[in-house]
Amino acid sequence: MRVTFTANGKPVEADDVWEGESLLYVLRERVGLPGSKNACEQGECGSCTVYLDGVPVCSCLVAAGQVQDREVRTVEGLSEENGELGLVQQAFIDAGAVQCGFCTPGLLVQTDALLERDAQPSDNDIREALSGNLCRCTGYEKIMDAVRLASARKCSGKAVTE
């Protein structure tokens, strides 16, 4: 079947999509957006998190046919239009929250959504919001730092570097 939808603001089209395919597969293998990651494909790791009509979801658990005519935003869509890193992306690098980086795309989307909802989350709020994103490298401490840093920068309205 053919599936057409909007990805990061641009219309995309995928042909010969098998009916059982996930949105994740279509993004990664058919429309050139491999940034969302395929770590578990059962909704237990969050590495494939994307916005679907503005709501963060596991793209591995969305059937490709379900996104017909809908809007998807992936990690590739988090950068500024001029290609500069977005605030959350920069904070993750600065805080040392990226090691192997496989969990990073999903964490960035989920963190972006958290800070959109609540620019100054408490530590418990951060932990709850990110509890569906597994990271195997960092022990999460630097991820906590990154979200706190992104929050501080967002609230101060400018990118502050240490």
Binding site: N38, I93, Q99, T104, S131, Y140, E141
Partner: protein, 788 residues
């Protein structure tokens, strides 16, 4: 002695380096931008025009004879390009990391649940799945050999590998063994010297590396008849060494390039899909991509050896250790993988970082029909640490001593001897690490006035509003070796090129080091900056065009390949200065490079590096070999076996819901001597990550195997810690240089994984009064065990 507490954002200060992005600084990762933009190409992101998808048929049985394999129906599926069995392998049928005992595809026999039997290449993963299901295998299912008792009685239960197939010193179903005796050993006379004797049996479950990036890669057949493989691995050259004979190709025609690696932790030290993808690509003449799904990943790589251990410790009334008698049985599963090295570590480190005058040790790895086990972070030392640290706590109770004081009283330090006879010839601040862990401020008690369930055991599962919660505190310390041991020369190679690009001196570092997330690429650039006085450094993609970098394991890469980069950069520096001397006739003895200039400490700036280089590049390759080690004597375990030792101490604070058996780790402190922190931000990240994997082993992580069958090959039932399970992890770093190591550094990655698990279990014991002799500790252990 310098000690720094480095935590979170606050302490990224540089330490007197010419370049703030040289060693000792914390410049940002060179791959960071790509990673946060989703543009970093991991092995599963590889794509090629006309590529096919490869998939394996795996055995549902742990032990069986294969009576027949019928691939005819699978071949008829439209879109299928190839279906292969072992009969289609052009070269050697067996491979292996240390012992070539594993068939690339099963031959007549199945030795573990999930063993690959046949391969399919097809135009879409779903086509491949349908074809795999159409392969008909007739099995004669046999009773699996899975328990220690069964393995050790082959007359009754049979052999996993027939004795005539053994390619090592194996016997019975024992893959490898190591004995050790030091002092007087453990005899009745020695026992009589002890006022107090404690003994215990301990068990460690099978942990998985659970890296997030699944095994994956793309094999592209080349016009010269060779093959190019883009792969996530820990060691490009050892993969190639194992692959080439199976593919019947000379090594130079098997070219590997490192693709992005989504974590490793030991699980990528062995071959997974490398040979399979290449066989399919060879056969079809098309590029073939294989990406494991998560269930296949659990079958497709080796795990941490489960262990059963018996420990007996004797001490004087005042707490001085007199003897230790240890037996460690590791289940290596169907194939050898790294079992011999795991046994070597368990035997030589299994007494812990303590001075014990008399030691007897026997460590073995079994062959069984359980999943194969091999490398995982801290191997051999992790299992043993749970045993000896549990014993230290037990002994402290028996003696009525403080458990930290008991450890400090017996702690080894520089100049002491290991039970292997090897003298510790660099700092070993074991007692001090413990002191610092103990002196760090404790977290505040549970605030029962303003409870947030998210901070309690069970969190949002809403199991407690404060009922049943008891706090516990526990301590532990551990020892790990750095680098490969027992006489192995695991050298590293680095190529450094210095040239002028855009009017600036630019260094390029080329190694085959597998960057798996640890930050080696950041450190290589730092070393080049420091040694060459340049700011611009590029990192060449890792591949087999340059010599081996050894494995990204054993906490060795900064030491070994970092050391090679240092040697190569020093050689380039010398050549540049020589070139300048020849041209300018400098007589100064104190010439160095800094800020892009050739500088004399007495005479100041001599000339710009750009002027010396002109349009010529200096391009040199160097190998770094660590000091030689020796094999351990088979019977006595004596020998200068290890390159370097590393130590970490932990304090765990836990809240336990003692009625429900649920645990929340409140804080996990780590204090570690790293010799020299080349990149403090990365060092802290390694320690925190290592602690968290240890937390997983302590309270949740286990591959559950029943009668040889894996019961939880998914992230639904193999649980790793989430951010709600992981506490703040304050880290204190000591920098006591090791004179034998580059920059005095000490390997970092594994020590916290060795030491942190026992501290958490000790804290749970402290809260519950239970003996807790098995990890991971499960809720039912806490609610049904009797106080110990």
């Amino acid at each position: 002695m310098s000690a720094r507490t480095i935590q979170g954002q606050k302490n990224l200060q540089n330490i007197n380096q010419a370049s703030k992005d040289g060693i000792g600084g914390s410049p940002l990762r060179p791959d960071g931008n790509l990673k946060v933009k989703g543009e970093f190409a991991y092995s599963s992101d590889m794509w090629h025009e006309d590529m096919l998808w490869g998939m394996a048929l795996r055995s549902p049985h742990p032990r069986a004879n294969i009576l027949s394999v019928d691939i005819s129906e699978a071949l008829k599926v439209p879109g299928v390009y190839a279906v292969l069995t072992h009969e289609d392998i052009p070269g050697a049928k067996y491979y292996g990391l240390e012992i070539k005992d594993q068939p690339a595809l099963a031959i007549d026999k199945i030795r573990y649940h999930g063993e690959a039997i046949a391969l399919v290449a097809a135009d879409h993963p779903e086509t491949a799945r349908r074809a795999v299901k159409k392969i008909v295998v007739e099995y004669e299912v046999l009773t699996p050999i899975v328990t220690e008792e069964q393995c050790l009685d082959p007359q009754t239960h049979g052999y996993v590998h027939e004795p005539h197939e053994y390619k090592s010193h194996a016997y019975g179903n024992i893959c490898h063994e190591q004995k050790l005796v030091s002092g007087l050993g453990v005899t009745d006379e020695v026992r009589a010297l002890a006022d107090v004797i404690v003994s215990g049996d301990y068990e460690v479950g099978m942990q998985d590396q659970a890296f997030l990036g699944p095994e994956s890669g793309l094999a592209v057949p080349a016009e010269d008849g060779g093959i190019d493989l883009y792969i996530a691995t820990q060691w490009l050259h050892v993969d190639r060494e194992q692959m080439a004979p199976v593919l019947d190709l000379p090594e130079e025609k098997v070219r590997l390039t490192l693709a992005g690696v989504g974590g490793a932790f030991g699980g990528r030290e062995d071959i997974s899909m490398q040979i399979h993808a290449c066989l399919l690509a060879q056969h079809t003449g098309k590029p073939v991509k294989i990406v494991y799904a998560r269930d296949e990943s659990f079958y497709g790589h080796v795990h941490r050896h489960p262990a059963r251990m018996h420990y007996e410790h004797g001490a004087t009334r005042d707490g001085k250790l007199v003897f230790a008698d240890c037996r460690i049985v590791l289940d290596g599963g169907a194939y050898a993988s790294a079992s011999p090295a795991v046994v070597g570590n368990a035997a030589s480190l299994g007494h812990g970082p303590y001075v014990i005058p008399n030691v007897k040790m026997h460590a073995i790895a079994l062959y069984s029909n359980n999943p194969s086990c091999g490398a995982m972070r801290g191997f051999g030392a992790v299992q043993a640490a749970f045993g000896y640290e549990s014993q230290m706590d037990k002994l402290a109770v028996e003696l009525g001593m403080d458990p930290v004081e008991l450890r400090q009283l017996n702690a080894m330090s520089e100049g002491d001897f290991m039970p292997t006879g090897q003298q510790i010839d660099s700092p070993a601040p074991v007692a001090d690490l413990l002191r610092r862990a103990k002196e760090m401020p404790l977290p505040p008690p549970l605030d029962t006035e303003h409870l947030d369930v998210r901070q309690l055991p069970g969190a949002l599962s809403n199991t407690s509003h404060g009922e049943g919660i008891v706090r516990g505190v526990g301590y532990s310390v551990g020892i790990k070796n750095v680098g490969f041991s027992e006489g192995f020369d695991d050298y590293s190679t680095a190529r450094v090129r210095l040239e002028v690009i855009g009017g600036e001196p630019v260094a390029m570092v080329h190694t085959a080091m597998a960057e798996v997330g640890q930050g080696g690429v950041t450190v290589h650039a730092q070393i080049a900056r420091t040694e060459l006085g340049v700011e611009q450094v590029t990192i060449h993609p890792a591949n087999t065009e340059v010599g081996s970098a050894g494995s990204t394991s054993a906490s060795r890469q900064t030491y070994m390949t970092g050391g090679a980069v240092k040697l190569a950069a020093e050689a380039v520096r010398r050549e540049l200065i020589e070139k300048g001397r020849r041209r300018y006739g400098w007589a100064h003895k104190d010439i160095t490079l800094a800020g892009g200039k050739v500088v004399s400490e007495s005479a100041g700036v001599l000339v710009s590096m750009v002027d010396v280089l002109g349009d010529e590049a200096i391009d040199l390759t160097r190998e770094h070999h660590h000091r030689p080690t020796q094999a351990f004597d088979k019977e006595t375990g004596q020998g200068f076996g290890h390159v370097q030792y590393t130590f970490c101490a932990n304090r765990a604070v836990v809240d336990v819901d003692v009625e429900l058996g649920l645990v929340k780790v409140v804080e996990l402190t780590a204090v570690q001597d790293v010799g020299k922190a080349l990149n403090p931000l990365s060092v802290v990240g390694q320690i925190q990550g290592g602690c968290t994997q240890a937390l997983g082993l302590a309270v949740m992580e286990e591959i559950i195997v029943r009668d040889g069958k894996v019961r939880n090959a998914s992230f639904t039932d193999y649980l790793i810690p989430t951010i709600l399970d992981t506490p703040p992890i304050p880290v204190e770093i000591l920098e006591l240089p090791d004179p034998n190591a580059p920059y005095g550094l000490r390997g970092v990655g594994e020590a916290p994984t060795v030491s942190a698990t026992p501290s958490i279990v000790a804290a749970i014991r402290n809260a519950t009064g239970l003996a807790l002799t098995r990890i991971p500790v499960r809720p039912e252990h806490l609610t049904t065990e009797q106080p110990g």
